[in-house]
Amino acid sequence: MEMWELGLILGMLLAATVAFIWLALNIGSGAKNKKNPNDAFTEQAEKDVEHIFNDDFREELRNRGRLHFEKIIGENAMFLQQDLRLTTSQLNEFMKTEITRKLQEEFAKYEESITDAKQLAIDSINKTQEAIEQQRKMMSQQLSQELANEKARLIHRFEENMADIINHYVLAAIGDQIDLNDQLEYILSDLETNKEAIIRDITDGAG
């Protein structure tokens, strides 16, 4: 039930109540204000009526009418009260249902939004973690490659200069103890080995 329907029902109830009260009040005071026309018969009749409906009788009627009116008023008031209670109860139930439904809808939307945001955050975190992991793997591979290259370069350089290193070591270790006179035999044997080449170069290439 929409709000405007609720407002319409309430307005109708209020209008009925006002109309009923106005009618009751007019009934009580209407008899006094009525004036018969100028008809003589009417006056005569009034006079006769006054004889019949004297003050005591009128008072009796008035009392009876008042009692009857009060009874009707009481009954209607009771019905109105019941209707009001029922309406209030329905209204409360309706309001409760509507509010609950709205709240549930809003909570559902809110929960959905939170779930979406949470999923987005999780996706973003996962993507970031994947990117970080990839970067870490790439850097690890690069570092390993660099280390391997550097190691290979150092080993290659070490091996390449091994003769110099050994020579330097020998010189530093026993350089002072190597006497040229002790080397003469070694030098002469080397010269003997290269003798032909030396002679050929001196003989043929003398310039």
């Binding site: 050994i166 020998v170 040229l180 002469l188 010269l191 003798k195 001196i202 290439g205 310039g207």
Partner: protein, 169 residues
Amino acid sequence: MEQDKSIIVLPTGVTGRMDVGRLVREVDALDQFLEQAAVRKPGTPMQMPKTSKLLDEMLETNKINALVEDDRKRLLNFLITVRAKAPVMHMSFSADPAPLFTQKLVTWLRDNIHPLVLLHVGIQPNIGAGCIVRTTNKQFDLSLKQDFAKQHPLLMAKIHGSVQEVSHE
């Protein structure tokens, strides 16, 4: 006997071109002195120039009489020719060799390579042991450093073997 006179050899004391040049100058000076002495007045006092140990060795080895003009001329011509045309070998050692060492080396060279070869000695401290020989067009690296370089595969094999042994231990 005449043929023996014409053969002149270099004594082992004469090793390099500088020694030959020094002998050339000395023989030339001696020759000039003796030429001047020949035209002096008889009885004029004169003092013979002193000859170096190297020249003495040269004269003695080749049985040359320095007072004889022909011998002097022959010696001078020989020395000039040697200085100009004799083959020169450069040998570098890790240290300055002793004269006796140089003489032994020159003796071997003149016996085995060329009888008139001259030796120029240089120093290269980084070669360790051995020597580097440079002739007219070639260089012979007979140093310990070169030996190590030649034995590089063996050296690496030994090192790798030692490394593997250490790894297994």
